[in-house]
Symmetry: C2
Subunit: 435 residues, 2 copies
């Protein structure tokens, strides 16, 4: 196991009246067992090809030449929205957490909005002649991705010339006729197939997430290996008991039903898991927020949000489940010698400690404080954070989301409510042009 | 007015049963009127010096020489946690929204965590000999800020020499004896006074927020001017009716009390307001989350979160108030000529439109869709986004938070619950060193 999962401090016996009664937990967990057969079936009949990805390697070999080509650029711009971007971003954060990419790799810019000011700055700042561009849209009709691409094309062509344009571009979309594919064919740039049966928020283990990761220097086979370490026991299990993703789902759904816990806070103590929090947020919200069900995912960050949100978590309404994700960083960072602390006794507690000791102590202290204040808290512990661990965490949460959907009786894979806004957007654009 | 504020679509008459009944709104708004006298008193007796800042200019003149000095560096690292960082970050985002600072200004890195991996990367990547360093802590005892500073000092000294060390450093802390101040005195670097009566989350209009902003090229006098445009009418008012910050507070508190609205979503359609969302999140959570009261602030981003959170907003539990912040971007971005769209009829709706038209249409469509689905929604509209508008928005939300605290009967300025975790952190560190 690449992580350990502790839920005792979320149960009534340990945390008091806001916690989940053992009997309710047991009931929900038992209800998760039938989902095992469904998951096996989804895997075997091809309904859910994502469940075959952890074991696959051939498709990685197939995208490697594209990775080699785009790695030569100085910058890579990825046009993609929501799930088309969050997975890749989460993986890339293993190699670039703010100060730039690993040496010999391009800086990857995940453009996930259509703000004209940001776009103008991007075009002014990036040397387009040394920039590669990905456009990712499963349907091939996403308004934002298309507008971004069409806004950039003339500028890119002006810099690199019509003959070279195709070398800078790559498109990922479903293997059927759509606007994005036709555009790619017309321009002569490579088009990779987005599996029609892998929705955006579940796409991180497919080429959508792995191609940018590969370009950033991430060991993507190890990501898949980590995912397999969580998936395989689920596929082999006869009952849900003891399966961490099912246990997590039973806890969440039980607390929502029984204790009015409407909010679920994911708080990693690790900057490289910052995007993981956003990735989880989409996965959970979009998969479960249906028929008045679901809980609101909140992405927090330790230690940052101790100084921003902890007062609310401890003193506000008791309507939240907390997941504290703790990475063992003991001994990391330069230990501060007593002599350098200026001889101040009030700093004695920092003597011989490094940043890793401080962040670890704060993580443990926050989890303990939440429990002391009667807030249901689960803890996920990591010994280290690498590709395998990231893959394991991602598969854990994808499966936990599927189990939770089964327990709530909603479809984990659709998003029926958002079409209305898309239709209205097109209407507004059409009306406003005419006026 | 630098913004317009529309709450009708959050009322029952417009949005249906999840909306606020007019009578409850009127009752809460009437209850906000007594707060006006308190606010005036806080301003006049010095309890709340922040309310004198919008009119002040001398203090800006006093920090300008420091801004000139640090502007010459290539990078500026700001060690500060929570309120010490979020305000500055929000203002700096007006000039640097991802692709780097304005020409002739340093890149500012707001280091708001103590992750050893991030810190190591920072030290490896930044040319420390061309890097300035701020350490900001009101109390002067913040563990994170001290550990960051003490972790960096030997490395910085090794690069620039003992004699030059002080030129790279600046400290902001309360004007009383504390560890950070003593450290600064020993090193011989400038120390600026943090007003003891301005808490971190309300500090953006003080030198804490304005000094980094000044260095980034932000017109900080204009920020103050914008703040004054919202504060002055409040200070002059006899009743809360018609005052946007009081109206917003009455809406929030009324919906929480009457309709079980536990979550408040702030969704700007503008990348430069991304940090504003995080700044608001701390302000609201830490000020109001007390005695079981308060609501959970959620920072969203349009259009991004349409593809991530909107399904939950529309289809999940109806326990949220939405504030959609819409910037008029009509006509911004290059209009895409029909000829360039490859002649595809399904793209006709994009002909002649630019990115600004698309994001504006999406903002309007999302607000309309929320309302159609019976979700209480308020809209804040901006004609433009500059320093004045940002100052106005910030003062709006600081005042709205104070009004809401009065309506809930909590202290907007303390954070009593977070001490326990701090004590435990020190205990853990001491125990672990000994073992």
């Amino acid at each position: 196991m690449f992580y350990s999962h502790h839920i005792d401090d979320a149960l009534e016996a340990k945390v008091g009246p806001h916690g989940l009664p053992q009997a309710v937990f047991d009931r929900e967990l038992a209800r998760a067992t039938p989902a095992l057969d469904k998951i096996r079936q989804w895997r075997n009949d091809g309904t859910l090809p994502l469940l075959k990805l952890p074991a696959a390697r051939d498709d990685i070999a197939a995208i490697r030449p594209h990775a080699e080509h785009f790695r030569k650029f100085e910058h890579l711009v990825v046009f993609g929205i929501g799930g088309s971007n969050l997975g890749g971003q989460t993986l890339v954060a293993l190699k670039d957490h703010g100060f730039g990419p690993a040496k010999g790799h391009p800086k990857i810019w995940f453009m996930d909005n259509v703000d004209p000011a940001t776009f103008a700055e991007m075009c002014e700042r990036l040397p387009l002649e040394r920039t590669g561009v990905f456009a990712i849209s499963k349907s091939g009709t996403t308004a934002e991705t298309l507008t971004q691409l069409y806004s950039l094309l003339p500028l890119l062509e002006a810099k690199v010339g019509k003959a070279n344009l195709a070398k800078h571009l790559l498109v990922i979309t479903e293997p059927k006729d759509n606007v994005l594919r036709r555009t790619a064919m017309r321009l002569g740039c490579p088009v990779l197939d987005h599996d029609p049966n892998i929705g955006g928020r579940y796409s991180v283990l497919s080429l959508v997430g792995l191609l940018p990761a590969l370009i950033a220097g991430v060991d993507v086979a190890a990501v898949r290996e980590g995912a397999a370490s969580v998936l395989d026991p689920v596929l082999a299990a006869k009952e849900a008991t003891g399966l961490a993703p099912a246990v997590g789902a039973a806890l969440s759904v039980g607390l929502a039903k029984e204790r009015g816990v409407h909010t679920t806070v994911l708080m990693p103590y690790c900057d490289r898991l910052g995007y993981f929090g956003f990735w989880f947020r989409q996965l959970w919200a979009e998969s479960l927020g249906k028929d008045g069900k679901g809980t609101t995912p909140v992405r927090a960050m330790g230690t940052v949000d101790q100084h921003s949100q902890l007062q609310l978590y401890l003193g506000g309404p008791a309507d939240k489940l907390f997941t504290v994700l703790i990475l063992d960083t003991k001994g990391q960072g330069r230990p501060i010698p007593a002599a350098e602390l200026g001889g101040d006794k009030s700093l004695a507690y920092l003597e011989g400690q490094g940043l890793g000791d401080l962040i670890l102590a704060e993580a443990d202290a926050t989890a303990a404080t939440l429990v002391k204040n009667g807030r249901p808290t689960r803890v996920i512990r990591l010994k280290t954070l690498d590709e395998k661990v990231m893959g394991a965490l991602m598969m854990h949460y994808m499966l936990e989301t599927m189990f939770a959907a089964e327990l709530w009786g909603v479809d984990a894979f659709d998003q029926p409510a958002v079409e209305e806004g898309k239709i209205l957007t097109r209407q507004y654009l059409s009306q406003r042009r005419r006026s």
